[in-house]
Amino acid sequence: MSTKQTEKKDIPAALLLNRCAYGPTERDLDALRAIGPSEWISQQLNPPAQEDAVVSKRLADLRLRIRYAAGQGYAARDEMAPLSTLDKPIEQVWNLADFKQPMAGNERSRPRFEVAAATLVRAAYSPWQLREVMVDFWHNHFNVYAMDAPISVALPTYDRDVIRKHCLGNFRAFLEAVATSTAMLYYLNNRSSRAGIANENYARELFELHTLGRDHYLNEYYSRWRDVPGATTGKPTGYIDQDVYEAARAFTGWVVEDGTGLGGGQNLPQTGKFTYVETWHDNYQKRVLATDFDPFQPPMADGRKVLDLVAAHPGTADYVCTKLCRRLLGDTPSKAMLASVTAVWRKHLKSPDQIARTIEFILHTPEFADSAGARVKRPVDLVVSYVRATGIDFTPTDGFIYELDGSGQRLFGWAPPTGHPDNNDYWLSSHVMRKRWGLLMGLTDNWWNTGAIDPRFGLGGGSTAAGALAVHWMGRFGNRAGEMDRIAGLLDGLGLAPDRVLNNDQGGLQQMRRIVAFAAMSPDFQYC
């Protein structure tokens, strides 16, 4: 670590595995204890590029149901099919986005299901847990809505070549990968933006959601760019609507090979890949963030210059680091802390591991070590941490993904470009609370065929008293000592005396499963 914190504190293992992983498992706890938090963090921030062998095998073995009735021009299908889109380049799956080809909607939405299933498998089983946590963070930061067919088809590429590739890397490089991604070009409409009256959708959210953030939208200056503090010295503290308009012009011509007509009977090819069309680009001079752009620059130079400006802007450091802290600490950082985090971010502006360095710094702050209990699990965190704590041999199914979609957290299915809310309140609504309990019950009773549970996992032996089983699971789910006093009430509610012996028969196992599920519904297990 290049920046030494002075008041170094011990990082509790449980905190690290809840916040920087999807909950503790024996294996990860042992690994962490063997090498200590600093080394664990350092290893986690340098994961190998290739997929872990265990995860690879699970993904290869996974079968997801696809089912639809026959329609105009296609036959019915009902089978358990392997994942087929995850490793393919976009041009090999792009036919799924071609609406001229008759096809069931389920074929077009299939890639989104495959990425969602793979995401859950990796969250549960990847040894590179921190990468999975950051992949989720960036998928929300650079949100796309894959319930729309072309974005579903582009999602495997987006997940693999954009988000996973850059999630611990350099932010400037990340931005360009996003800006040239088929998923984002469709989602925020830049693919249809043209010189003339450009489409502002991408440019606005680039400033507001991807880089400088809302606090740096200086709306009161609107058209008076010279009045923006710092503008006359070329360092405006924020952006105004004119910056959005001009940036939108800068990105005209950044489009997708989607067969669109070019004029004169010519069409773009149909590959789904990024391309730049010079004749659609607005070539004239521009001014973005008080910086002049000369007219007639080389291909893509205007857009790249915008990305250079926003990536290096101090407002971007503030905004992105605040979001990183909120995710990792569960709370907004103090001014002093943010200043130290952004210093690291800015120092590594050109480093290939800028994001990893920043995360490493945050995780070594005393604020992080003190942050237990500050963050509430979202439904995906909850179900995956449950799978990891109970040792369920977990396989995502279409039914389970549908159920999760109804929980308030729809993987790759959040419509507004903000991504899912990252404040605790949202995840504590009555709807989400009820869904938490239902998801835990359903996983335990295997309603969605996700895998059977062994209610004596970690205990061994034969028959068990209800009370002992409850103590085992309440403890395993991270309940603090005082919470153990609730076990009598919990069992009483379930109609079980603590000394009731539960045998390995059907009735006994069902009672055991109820004890596991309800112990996981305890408030303490909802925190991460």
Binding site: N199, Y426, S429, S430, R486, G493, L494
Partner: protein
């Protein structure tokens, strides 16, 4: 009395006591079950193009700025539907043809439009505009001082202390209800709100959550109390499954977020839980591209669901007032994606039996460049709070309370006259 009722219901819920339906509802509400008010807010997320819903089809500024396919037509088989209105004698305002269901409500004087309405602040950010509006303020400075939602603050002025005074028919609580005690998020009531494990599960959860005051504990307790009270009242079939809701008067809702949400509100308002305010969202309004096709679907769904909700609730004994609003209108000039970018002045709707409907309220600012906000967008001539203030007066709030508690720093003048007195 109210407190007693609330405590009684909590106790009934906590004990898992299954009281006969009629018994509990009489004890809970009795005669107050009729003749009460319900305020419903429909929020169009993403910025609805008010210029396409109530369209100034003969305004030269509109004709010049938008390609023909981006406009509502004045004649032909897809012509906009006539709206007789005194708003501006020179402008022919037409309703989007896909919103036909709204024309009947308008002609029946149950529906009023307010045009060129919105935030006095000229933000073109969705999320800033939504936050400002939902918290009932006009600038970012006020945002810091007002962390609760305007609907939550209104509710506290209404003195509603019932089991379920407020519901957001969306997965997470809407910001306009932020801070309202006992507010629920319930996007769908079709299959009930059962908890796992039945009465035993409820008792187990209550043991786990009892007396916990941390954020999860408090949220869990509130959820258990309210959902068990609701669950007791949902009708069940012989198989003990919650029966589907049957809207009155053969009203048919769409099977989409808005339709399910309005249905949940209707169902809840018919139960004896004391519902006083509700909100629901319709997404999909951010029409930066392919606007004509997308708006056909959006307006159709909006109109059908509002009409269904109106029909369903007619004669229910609850006086329903429904407000439809969005964060901003869209850019006057269309872009080359056949869409429109973020604009300023928008459109609001107020629907209900006490509404002085069949009119377009507000002042039409015109669409010539010098009449536009910043030269590009429909100007705002009516503050969104002017509309909401009149709605709140109709809901029984005083002008003083509105200015000091609900919209701090705003002086309601109540000059629109949206409601019959």
């Amino acid at each position: 009395m109210n407190l007693t009722r609330r405590h009684f219901l909590q106790a009934a819920g906590s004990a898992g006591v299954l009281l006969p339906l009629t018994g509990i509802s009489q004890l809970a509400w009795g005669a107050e079950n009729t003749d009460r008010d319900l305020l419903v807010i429909v929020f169009q997320r993403g910025g609805c193009d008010g210029l396409s819903l109530v369209s100034p089809v003969n305004d030269q500024g509109y004709i010049d700025a938008r390609a023909p396919e981006m406009r509502v037509a004045a004649s032909g088989d897809k012509a906009g539907l006539a709206l007789d209105s005194p708003m501006d004698a020179h402008i022919d305002f037409r309703l989007h043809p896909e919103a036909r269901a709204l024309q009947d409500l308008y002609k029946g004087k149950q529906l009023a439009f307010i045009h060129a309405v919105g935030l006095p602040n000229g933000t073109r950010s969705h999320f800033e505009a939504q936050d400002l509006i939902e918290r009932g303020v006009a600038d970012n400075q006020a945002l810091k001082a007002n962390t609760s939602g305007w609907l939550a603050r209104s509710l506290s002025q209404m003195g509603a202390d019932s089991m379920v005074p407020a519901v957001a028919a969306v997965p997470g609580l809407s910001h306009m209800l932020q801070g309202a005690p006992h507010a629920l998020a319930l996007p769908d009531l079709q299959a009930g709100v059962g908890l796992p494990g039945g009465p035993q599960g409820l008792a187990a959860l209550q043991a786990l959550y009892a007396n916990r005051t941390d954020m999860v504990g408090a949220a869990g307790r509130g959820t258990l109390d309210a959902l068990s009270a609701i669950d007791h009242q949902l009708p069940r079939g012989a198989d003990n499954k919650v029966q589907n809701y049957q809207p009155a008067h053969n009203a048919v809702y769409d099977n989409n977020d808005l339709g399910r949400g309005l249905q949940a509100i209707a169902r809840l308002s018919r139960m004896s839980v004391g519902l006083r305010v509700a909100c629901v969202d319709q997404g999909g309004w951010d029409t930066h591209d392919n606007q004509p096709g997308r708006l056909n679907g959006q307006f159709g769904a909006l109109a059908r669901n509002l009409a269904a909700f109106h029909d369903d609730m007619a004669g229910s004994g609850t006086r329903v007032t429904t407000v439809v609003m969005t964060e901003f209108g869209r850019r006057l000039r269309s872009n080359r994606s056949n869409g429109t970018d973020h604009g300023h002045g928008g459109l609001m709707m107020v629907m209900g039996e006490t509404v002085q409907g069949g009119q377009i309220y507000g002042r039409w600012p015109g669409l010539a460049t010098e009449q536009l906000d910043r030269g590009v967008d429909l100007a705002v001539t009516t503050d969104y709070r002017a509309v909401l203030s009149e709605v709140l007066v109709q809901q029984g709030l005083g002008k003083q309370a509105i200015g000091s508690q609900v919209f701090p720093g705003y002086q309601p003048d109540l000059k629109l006259g949206l409601f019959r007195t």
